[in-house]
Amino acid sequence: MQYLLSVIHDSSALATSDEMAAIDVFNDRLQAEGHWVFAGGLGGPDTATVVDNRGGEALFTDGPFVESKEYLVGFWIIEAADLDVALRLATDGSKACNRKVEVRPFL
């Protein structure tokens, strides 16, 4: 079972060096314990472009698809047996990166 751990924050400021160090430790642990699938940090909403090709002619729009005070700044995709395991990892991940984390299952 895979879960998306979305890192939510109100600024796209990069993680501090302390936060980076804690994230590295957490990532190493995810790999060592077999939970690691993928992870990454994202550019801020200002760097986003929305593409809509539903009408046959692609439409590009500058900016995020929805303006909000808090937004996705990064994510982990993890392998976990169930939600309890995923929540425990998200708890440690939130502490490591010092940001909120939303947990959602892949279907």
């Binding site: 079972m1 169930d82 939600l83 309890d84 929540l87 947990v103 299952p105």
Partner: protein, 416 residues
């Protein structure tokens, strides 16, 4: 009530959670388990009057529900995929033969019910959802009953429960007793749900129901007894059960014939339920004898044991009550605990000392009706009628319970 309908009611009380729990384990799906359990009880209502009550109602209901669940899965898998049927029916854990209720199987089923409770009270579900799901899956209340209990539209309550079941399935909220590491927090989550159900029954928050709702207090006590049977060594489980019993023992004395709340010092103590008090006291003594440091429910149970030990309100050992609240403040330094401590301090050190303590809580409790009720009473005792009246006015505005509102209005209007 006829013998058969009595047997059905009893089976519903005793077997509902087992049937749902065992089927959830077998089919890995709360929704299938719930529907099949409901159908099995409907079949019982239809057949038992003619065929007689089976010698083992629990086994009969489980077998009937199992067949219904298999029928449903066959129907659905004919519609969509055959694989699902194979996975559900022949999954990792082959179903145990639970139709034979020997001791070992009985233990396994107790364990199943515990899994069910922990799943319904999972912290990834909203608190009001935990309450609703617990009443439905463990308590066996119907969706309309739960909707009425919480003054929510039936359709909205139905959606809440459906959404919760879908989340449990999609996000894979595990169906198991939590690991030892998580257990204390998770047990206290379950107890919080049960206490919420109890409190809503003991002092209904809204004006649109009876002021006291014995159906809810009885259900909360029944479920807490179940947890107690499943976790007999947990001090807080025993504490919560004792607390509920000792509060429940005063229920009939608590509302007057005219529908007004009766304060503890005004209650007819002869109307208290002696059997519930004896059981509550026994549990409190058992916890004291254990020598293990008590948690909040055990301390609150001890406070209630002091009250229920006094045959006359003048015999109340207030120094003991204050000492217990001191202990509770150390565990839980919340303003509500501080408020309750101040109420006991008023009896020990006088209303002036208590009022000073209460006034310090204004910043945190200004929107809480009990804060104003307490101030109004203390100001009244100090002869400060004008201020007392203003505090009663505020308390009446904030109180939702009809019996409490009636009581507060009378007290206000009696001020000189």
């Amino acid at each position: 009530m006829s013998d058969v309908s009595e047997a059905i009611t009893r089976a519903h009380h005793e077997e509902w959670a087992r049937v749902v729990a065992v089927l959830t384990r077998r089919f890995g799906d709360l929704d299938i388990a719930e529907e099949a359990a409901a159908e099995a009880f409907a079949v019982a209502v239809e057949r038992w009057p003619a065929d007689g009550v089976p010698p083992n109602p629990g086994g009969w209901l489980t077998t009937t529900a199992h067949r219904r669940a298999v029928d449903r899965i066959r129907r659905e898998s004919k519609r969509d995929d055959k694989q699902k049927e194979a996975r559900v029916l022949y999954g990792d854990d082959p179903p145990e033969p639970v139709d034979v209720f020997d001791g070992a199987v009985e233990d396994a089923i107790e364990d199943e019910r515990l899994r069910l409770i922990f799943t319904c009270c999972h912290p990834a579900l909203a608190p009001e959802t935990r309450v609703a799901l617990t009443l439905r899956m463990v308590g066996g209340l119907t969706v309309p009953e739960i909707a009425r209990a919480f003054l929510v539209q039936e359709t909205a309550m139905g959606r809440r429960i459906t959404r919760a079941k879908a989340k449990i399935k999609a996000a894979r909220i595990p169906y198991r007793v939590p690991s030892a590491e998580d257990l204390p927090v998770r047990v206290s989550g379950v107890l919080a749900v049960l206490f919420l159900i109890f409190n809503e029954g003991y002092l209904a928050t809204g004006p649109d129901t009876g002021p006291v709702r014995p159906g809810l207090t009885a259900e909360a006590i029944r479920l807490t007894r179940l947890i107690r049977a499943l976790m007999p060594d947990d001090g807080e489980v025993a504490g919560l059960l004792a607390l509920m019993l000792l509060i429940e023992s005063r229920r009939t004395a608590r509302v007057s014939a005219s529908g007004e709340l009766v304060a503890l010092d005004q209650q007819d103590r002869g109307a208290w339920d002696a059997a519930l008090i004896a059981e509550g006291h026994r549990l409190v003594r058992e916890r004291l004898a254990s020598g293990v440091a008590p948690g909040r429910y055990q301390i609150l149970a001890a406070v209630n044991a002091v009250h229920t030990s006094a045959r006359d309100v003048r015999d109340t050992d207030w120094s003991q009550v204050v000492a217990l609240y001191d202990q509770l403040v150390r565990l839980d330094p919340s303003p509500i605990v501080a408020l309750n401590r101040a109420i006991a301090v008023a009896e020990l050190d006088g209303p002036e000392v208590a009022l000073a303590a209460v006034d310090r809580l204004e910043g945190k409790l200004a929107g809480y009706h009990a804060y104003h009720v307490t101030r109004a009473d203390l100001l009244r005792r100090l002869g400060r009628s004008g201020q007392s009246r203003a505090a009663y006015d505020r308390a009446v505005e904030l109180a939702g319970n009809t019996a409490e509102t009636a009581y507060l209005i009378r007290r206000r209007d009696q001020l000189g």
